[in-house]
Subunit: 343 residues, 2 copies
Amino acid sequence: MRVKTEDGVKDLQALWLEDDGRVVMMEQRIIPERLEFMDCRTVEETAVAIEDMVVRGAPAIGAAGALGMAQAHILGEDWASSKARLWKTRPTAYDLFYALEYMDRAKEAGADLVKAARDFTDDIARRCKAIGEAGAPLIKDGFGVLTHCNAGALATVDWGTALAPMRIAHRDGTKFTVYSDETRPRLQGSRLTAWELENEDIPHYIIADNAAGHYMQRGHIQLAITGSDRVTANGDAANKIGTYEKAVLAKENGIPFYIAAPVSTFDLGMSDGMQIPIEERDCSEVTQFEGRYMAHSKSPCKNPGFDVTPARYIAGYITEIGIITADEIPDRIGAMQQDHGKE
Amino acid sequence: MRVKTEDGVKDLQALWLEDDGRVVMMEQRIIPERLEFMDCRTVEETAVAIEDMVVRGAPAIGAAGALGMAQAHILGEDWASSKARLWKTRPTAYDLFYALEYMDRAKEAGADLVKAARDFTDDIARRCKAIGEAGAPLIKDGFGVLTHCNAGALATVDWGTALAPMRIAHRDGTKFTVYSDETRPRLQGSRLTAWELENEDIPHYIIADNAAGHYMQRGHIQLAITGSDRVTANGDAANKIGTYEKAVLAKENGIPFYIAAPVSTFDLGMSDGMQIPIEERDCSEVTQFEGRYMAHSKSPCKNPGFDVTPARYIAGYITEIGIITADEIPDRIGAMQQDHGKE
């Protein structure tokens, strides 16, 4: 991703491995206030950085796991205990466990472990770039493009999922404007997505989540693209809370709504999205900012982290194998997943 | 409205006139953090309190204007200059100018000016209570009721518009739960509406605006009621940004969506809502909280204050003359407005 630093504009990934065994991560907890990098000098430091959300986003967490195992190899740390330590950092992201098992297999096969971890990381970025190339033609000159939350390079090593088509279209010279929902309660849109877009010099506006419908109604938005945490076999998509609202409003206003996600996000073992458990998160995310109450402190609150958008609201799925429809998921995604094992 | 104070539970209006000429207002800028009352001891102090938004909401601002003129009478301040001072406090609320002209007419007619101002204020509250009585039967045991922004007693002297049916239904013993959208960017839902509901002991949850669709989809919400800033002759309703989104989602999920508003909110001189100008407000409301950036500070932002909900999404209008449909607006509202002059 393109990042404006004090030393000029650089092309960076969200995290990488140095030859001396350091895992270097963009400090995502303080973006957008400032850009800093954290040097993780031991596997323990890498594990703590994952736990403390210096790095976030399932693909990026997976990369951190793979790079952490290569770090263990370079530094001569114990392989099994390094794996166990990284395994217990975050409970949910399947990508983490997949990455750790991948590195185990690489070790058993006698592979170059540094190269294996870097290949794993680059492969995530490559798939995201392919998503960008598949989706970029959807964006036309003059379009307003809505996105929700941060499905960007920070979460996916590089390029992003929903932001990848915007990066490619912008580099291709297409003139468009992104409307970035602030994405309450955690503000990933107004903080991380806005930061990524500003660094790429892609024209954009931050808007309150409440304003997306208004701009659709008034003809300012022609396309909507978000990421997804899980797409089920029938095409239902779980994603950050509020995604369902924007998809319904897009349909009501005749605006195509796309999900951008790699093949690994599709869960063909689940028939529909109503089976996806919805995480209920701490209310302080809604009621407080930096420890100060924003809301009436005596009122109870509910804070679901995700919602499910039924497939009928989704025009298509932008993947690294092209744009597919819900009907095509079982065959085309199924074939890819059988080729590559469960990704 | 029912308010829990250090001296026990009291039944209060948002503002009132004391016999000694003080205009007393609930300090709405610090609710919900704490409850304080501001004593306005001169017309100048009353005017500054209106300007500084100690009192907010068009009907409550109108009441402040009427009470300020009675204050001028009690204190022996110059009538014409008091009116001129109050007139220039806020530019938008029609209710203010109407109240000041009303007091001028009362003076010309030789009326008791203190009684006239108190009658004016009580009349606002009475109309709101009638809205509550008309709307309460819509709320059934077990319902989840969504509201957006604060159309409560704080904005309308007492009872509120959207909150009035909830107050009446609760006092009648109906068991229901309110879902109060936090209402970004200014958080009137999580601050003021939540405060009013907690003081009434009406069961409620604060939710992020993004979560309303999810709770509709999952069957937790059976009814939606909001206020309105202006309803046009065809039934289109302007209200706080995000109202349109919730109305579309309600329709999509088969949930009736009502506007609660007094007859004076209907503007029969405007044929449809697309003619209503939408105020673009300062971006700091979206990007900052208490002076601290919540968002990427280098990104531009858009912050429309209101949106327009087309009449086709609105099941009915809860008014002090009963619940009416869009088709009935010209005849029934028109007859009332002719009876009472332009209210």
